[in-house]
Symmetry: C2
């Protein structure tokens, strides 16, 4: 990804008071929404430079190169910025589970038959 | 949606310091990611009670019944909570455009040929 285009995208992004934008990861072919995380300028720049999803961990306060520990990396196929610049959508190819629980997607809890239920599938 | 199930979901959600969770809206059949917004307890409760997406507008600091002005309502087919409770995924049936620009999805800006480009489609 060219540096000019990266600079333009980062200039168009509207980072919050903590320097972050929300980042949605979606499996590019099945279109499953996998997870929601956060990115700062540095993680956005590294993601665009390397083609691998890099987030910012708010709990650890550091760059989070997804898959470094788990092997569950995300290859970035495309990256979209939303209309007001405070969220990005990553179209990725997810290796294994996106979720630390081992589920393919983090969004596995729903209401079924009047109670919370797990509707997710393991990776 | 039963009140018990709604209470359980709201109890499982982890609202941030401003009382909000992130909310991703996805078209239920095409799986297109439409927008990212925010919900407080009240908007989550009203969404589950009415089956229509209700967000919380951070700029206007009030409930945002999507479509009240534009007619572009979202009928909620399913609602998922993520593994750490700070984000929800709404599977919706979007009437018209999700985005205030008239685009079907807010995520219409991408990098093409080394520059920012609109890759979205009007609703």
């Amino acid at each position: 990804m060219s540096t000019d285009a990266t600079d333009a995208l980062i200039a168009a992004a509207k980072f919050d008071a903590n320097g972050l934008v929300a980042a949605i990861a979606q499996q590019h072919d099945t279109k499953e929404v996998l997870m929601l995380a956060w990115m700062n300028r540095e993680s956005l720049r590294e993601t665009l430079a390397t083609g691998r999803a890099v987030y910012y961990s708010r709990s650890r306060q550091e760059l989070w190169r997804k898959g470094d520990t788990s092997g569950h990396t995300q290859r970035v196929i495309d990256l979209r910025l939303d209309c007001d610049g405070d969220a990005v959508l990553l179209l990725v190819d997810q290796a294994g589970a996106a979720c630390h629980t081992g589920q393919r997607s983090c969004f596995f809890t729903a209401i079924r038959d009047g109670a919370l239920a797990s509707v997710g599938l393991p990776a």
